[in-house]
């Protein structure tokens, strides 16, 4: 342990996590914020592997959150679009 070379501080991906919470993927965004928050403290405690892992986790949860909400939004727009066009066709007897 004493000989461990200090590694470069991993990116804590906090900006991505904050973005995730504001863009409506809040449960996973909060998880990402908590993970991101632990990166710097783990790094300060010289637990470099754990810090890198927390950094990756923060990024992972943010991205999952962003993709889930993108998926839901696209699905919603498709549904509304198709149903909307469908009912328009129905009303007009097409």
């Amino acid at each position: 342990m004493e000989n461990q070379v200090p590694v470069i501080k991993p990116n804590n991906n906090m900006a991505l996590a904050i973005f995730t919470t504001i863009c409506c993927c809040l449960p996973l965004g909060i998880v990402a914020i908590i993970k991101a928050n632990s990166v710097d403290s783990l790094y300060a405690m010289k637990q470099y592997d754990a810090a890198i892992m927390a950094s990756n986790e923060a990024k992972k949860w943010s991205l999952i959150g962003i993709f889930i909400s993108l998926f839901v939004v696209v699905l919603y727009i498709l549904c509304v679009g198709i149903l909307g066009i469908g009912s328009f066709a129905f009303i007009n007897g097409l």
């Binding site: 906090m14 904050i18 409506c24 809040l26 909060i30 889930i68 939004v73 919603y76 509304v80």
Partner: protein, 131 residues
């Protein structure tokens, strides 16, 4: 060692293009009126307003000069908006003293925890009071 003194042109152009595009879209299309404007996935699934809901309507109102309306769509944006902008500023800044100072303030543990707590409190209050 560190030659990055200037703001990276790539990042700057990404930010400028993003801001202009969303500005143009939100200026011209009232999110209340068009079905294809993205809806909040949290609201679609749960029916509840999330702490960020109202951001498009607020930007639309702001771009049309209705500041009071903009604030009423989401009071929490008064705090979370500037906070998020500071993260964009941090992302844009070149590595160096200014960036580190900003980073230490906005990514401070207590500042982040304050954000998380107020975020959740706002989620509960806005849905209880219907604001």
């Amino acid at each position: 060692m560190d030659y990055k003194i200037f703001i990276s042109l790539e990042k700057l152009s990404v930010a400028l293009i993003g801001i202009t595009l969303s500005g143009i879209i939100l200026y011209n299309l009232n999110p209340n009126l068009y079905w294809f404007m993205p809806k909040c996935p949290f609201k679609i699934i749960t029916g509840l307003s999330c702490p960020g809901c109202g951001i498009q309507r607020a930007i639309y109102s702001l771009l049309h000069g209705n500041i009071v309306d903009a604030i009423q769509y989401n009071y929490y944006l008064l705090y979370s908006g500037p906070y998020a902008i500071l993260f964009v500023v941090e992302w844009l800044l070149p590595n160096g003293n200014a960036r580190n100072k900003l980073k230490n303030v906005i990514e401070n543990k207590y500042v982040v925890n304050f954000y998380v707590v107020t975020f959740l409190l706002w989620l509960v209050t806005r849905n209880l009071l219907n604001i």
